[in-house]
Symmetry: D2
Subunit: 377 residues, 4 copies
């Protein structure tokens, strides 16, 4: 057990930086048995913005050189864009510093493989922050499946729908560039779906055996706007706007996955459905406190509000029926990750699990390019 607070260094101070900083700040009140942490160093390039973020997020120090930060801290969070996941994460692991890295693990399978190897060689936890594993309803679902309540798993279906690109004049962003982001909906959204499928039914259906893929870019170029909102230039969109995939699992189970940034009316609609020989379940992220469960002796889906004291993590929060939000998943994963660091335990999802997802994403891309089913490599 550590007795001193764990000094946390965080690379990235935008959306994910805020989500994790909030999670760290909330641990003491709600998870008093979590290790003590110190929000120590925030890492970024723009010094002014960095200072403002550090002030707001409660970090005592800032640093523009991630290498220097790694030297100073006990734990390193890599929350930067995908193309900066590999190098700092590997450096930290080589320095014996535990790493918590945002998903997807890397923009390419090659980089993901290197990260996975670095983690395998390290004696410290290397976690990949698939936060949706920490939704109470998802944990509850997984427990049902692990307990055999759904029987033999036959089919799993996942879709992740957003609509922020449906307007063809929506501006260009780094997420639309394959160099910076790796892929589009596949890496950003599909990674979550593939991982959640692994988490929920992986023990039952085994790994992904073969895949077929379909990636599409509906709008090929988008405007880059200047500060006045005028169009400076048009830049190519080099990632997918939507993907679909068919999956064959080792057990013979079938998967069907897709994502879109063009699904008008869907903001953050990550839906997972599982059918087994005894039951079925449905989860939707926009109603994350709920799980639809079809039990063996039931005639229809039961809408379970997963907010009972006996539900995963709920005893830390509020009484039954007092719903939690998206951000709570970050508190849960930080609690688990930091506990693993403090105890010297394994943490799941690990880099190995992040790499597994990456192998499937890569296979889907290859399948799309080749126009055929491909094996996961």
């Amino acid at each position: 057990m550590t007795t001193e607070p764990l000094k946390i260094g965080v690379l990235g101070y935008r959306f994910m930086g805020k989500a994790h900083a909030n999670a760290l700040a909330r641990l003491p009140m709600f998870f008093p048995d979590a290790p003590d942490v110190e929000r120590h160093t925030l890492v970024g390039r723009d010094e002014a913005a960095l200072a403002a973020a550090a002030d707001r997020f409660g970090f005592a120090h800032t640093e523009t050189d991630w290498g220097a930060a790694i030297d100073e801290v006990d734990v390193f969070y890599n929350l930067g864009p995908n193309h900066v996941h590999a190098e700092p994460s590997i450096a930290a692991l080589e320095a014996g510093v535990p790493v918590f890295c945002e998903k997807p693990l890397a923009p390419t399978l090659e980089e993901a493989s290197a990260m996975h190897e670095a983690a395998a060689d390290a004696d410290v936890p290397a976690g990949c922050a698939f936060n949706y594993r920490f939704v109470p309803a998802i944990r509850y679902a997984r427990n049902l499946i692990a307990d055999g309540e759904l029987g033999e798993i036959r089919q799993i279906r996942g879709r992740y729908l957003q609509d922020w690109l449906v307007d063809p004049d929506a501006p260009w962003a780094w997420r639309l560039d394959s160099e910076l982001a790796g892929s589009g909906t596949l890496g950003d959204l599909g990674a979550h779906t593939i991982d959640l499928a692994n988490f929920l039914v992986g023990d039952e259906v085994g790994g992904v055996d073969r895949v077929s893929g379909h990636l599409r870019t509906f709008v090929d170029e988008r405007p880059v706007l200047d500060d006045d909102g005028d169009v400076e230039e048009y830049r190519d969109v080099t990632v997918d706007d939507a993907y679909t995939a068919q999956v064959a699992y080792d057990s013979g189970a079938m998967g069907s996955f897709e994502a879109s940034r063009f699904a008008a009316g869907h903001k953050n609609d990550h839906t997972i459905e599982v059918h087994g020989s005894k039951g079925s379940l449905t989860f939707s992220l926009e109603r994350l406190n709920e799980l639809e469960v079809l039990r063996e002796d039931s005639r229809g889906y039961e809408t379970v509000l997963v907010t009972d004291e006996s539900d995963p993590y709920i005893d830390h929060w509020w009484p039954p029926g007092h719903v939690i939000g998206w951000e709570h998943t970050f508190v849960h994963e930080n609690y688990e990750f930091l506990s693993a660091v403090a105890e010297g335990d394994e943490f799941s999802p690990s880099f190995a699990e992040g790499y597994e997802v990456q192998r499937v994403l890569d296979a889907i891309e290859r399948a799309d390019e080749r126009g055929e089913w491909v094996d996961v490599e």
Copy 2:
């Protein structure tokens, strides 16, 4: 205009026979401008069962020889199992008798092609009874799409879920034999989905260009039961228990389709979702009076109860909010088909449209066999 009642001959007196006989019986009260019809001859092989059905369904005559029946009637309904679709339908068309044939058009592409050709050569309507085109909510949806309310169509998703095979001991049936049925979920359920997609967005996205397919049989053999319910023998299941497919349309739109007879908790859940550049919609057969519509100026899906007097076919039935059922789709399609017969008009969906569906089904099977995307032939 005919002045004498149209004499209707019907091959098949089970599920579909009952559905169409009911539809014919209901026309005069609710569609008084429909042509007069006479339920003339019911065709089948088991004379005792046939006689009982004719009595119940209101047919004056029975016939075990479909050829003889065709000679006697003005219109021929082919509601038999898939493997008897081609020969009698072609014979009727060659005799100048209009044909209304249940879906899928045929168990093989070859037979479907022959039927399509016979229809092309004939001067009378040849209709394929895709009844879900005649759900008021589906017609309303199609009108929205045709009016451009959803903008450019990007994605279409369809799934048809049933659960009657989820029990591995459920008995063998003719629908599980490829000789008799052609295929399993693909032909039985997927045909509906592919056709509905064509109906809804075909004018916008063009035909199906390429497909990828995945067919699975989860339970390879099933018991044949004797009259006491004891197992006589086990017979092979030679059709798919579930399928998934990815589709590329001519316009670049993406499709994602699947069906299952192993989806615990789903009885007859045919769900279609469409996303366009201005809006989205969702339809589910288990709530067939409703349509979920996301309009351009809306923030969320609107649950439209498609039972207003101005909605398709509804003025023939009941006041707003007085919901109709599954069987009403048969009344609507019979009204349209018989009106076309009487007026000498085209009827849609025609054999040509049934054949279009068949080409896609065939391509999905070939894609599955080859493990690659294939063009529709």
Copy 3:
């Protein structure tokens, strides 16, 4: 057992006339063990409209004098406006002719009482056509309650929402006149709710002990339009546009009821909710194939699609998941009523049960007038 077809005489040929004529026409195909019936005489005042309706609804004769019609038929259906319920129904019963009368039994408690007495003195069935008792999901619900699945019943809640008067310029109609209709939402909609509550939980909670009522007319006068759609005059609205009621049952259970014709967005939304010591259930008429059930060992409501072969009446219709509509409730109630007539059995809901409802409606009106809780008389 009758051997000759029962000759049916029907007073009223509009909405309810059509619903019952359709039901009679459908019995032979779907309920072959129902007594044979002959749609014999249709009764009305406007000879031209009556003849057209008789032709469409399949009645061989018409009659403008209901007394003469009663002499000719074996069974008398009273489907006229509320103010003509009492006299012809009583006359028929006194002549020994079974009567099936639409709800509410009568516009006043006095008339309802006279009808009830006439029925008590007669040896033939006198039925009050509360068709919602014949929804399969409602029967299924009642069976659950009768089997104790919900435990001791504590609370029942009902609301019936429509929106056809929400526009203050919507035209005047006879349903808005207290002389012709008795009351407004209370008699037209509340009667259904009170009866359904009695049907579902009456055996458990006993009769209604005391009530408090609130009736409101939001728009006091409405235009009468001439044939060109111009306003001829304004006529007073003398019935309630909405009501609410609180109910104390004999057992101590609480009821809470309301209806409105001003509920924008609700077409025919009759919702009933029951809470017991072991479970709860919810039914909504706009989704009449479904029942939401909370069972003792469940964590949430289960959405039951009440279309299984084992569900009430469903074996007469279609396979699981092939939903039925509003009109099927009339087929069911006609089957039950005519079977009772043929067999000499009791029929429920009887005039006695219709009178029970009327007593509660009357109490709600008195409670509203007095501004206090009143006993049911």
Copy 4:
């Protein structure tokens, strides 16, 4: 503007203490323009429990004498049981210390009146913590109503369903004692509903004119358990287990309200429905990120996910579709209350508004006792 942090004193350290402490802790990161606060003194009777809570909730000091605490702090939060609301709140106000008091304002109208008067005499904000006013979807709803989008408001319906007493052997608790709690469901749950109705439509429908009430205790006594879980004794339940109420507003609008702790399957289901001449809306606390809206030009309710950047408070949190939870309502209300304190502004809901609610609750109780409609006094 204050420059020193506001010292906050909080009486009560259980459920509400945790909810407000969390809110205070989260302000700096998410509402950086909120006044600085110091969690200064936590007040309670049990010193050991108090010390543990202060440690966990981040309070520097503890105090068993609330009078002493008031002397030390800038703002006083009264989060104790209802029967200790009046005296400390009045003392703080008389000392010029702003007060934020949990709802309902007091167990009796008399005490509520005294608190209201103390607030009127004070120059500092006195807020009543009706947190549901601070749900973004509720604010959004109120804006729609205030903008006239629903037209003239005709009907409002509210129900608050819980199930924690449905088991007759559930143990006795202070909330079941009228001396300590004032009333049961009426004060605990009904207070929320009445206030939310006032907030949403109060400007449109005016105050509550008359009410009818119905209070019921289903289980008259409950076990008091010792530390081993054995029954020590049975104690009387002296509050209502459920209530229903009918309400007439000044404008003629109708209200219909109820609550229960016996609604099996409902954990924290606070549902509000409003019907106007142009539209309707529905809100349910168990899906607090959503609002169902029926607009004038729509055919059905639109499910709005109220998580857009333009929605109330959302720009402080996460991107669209990243849902918030129940606890966020406390952050919002603390932000507003503390901003009012710092700026010297009015805060709403005030003690005056809490008193308005209390007058209605009192009228409902009187109406129940008298068995008649009563005016609000």
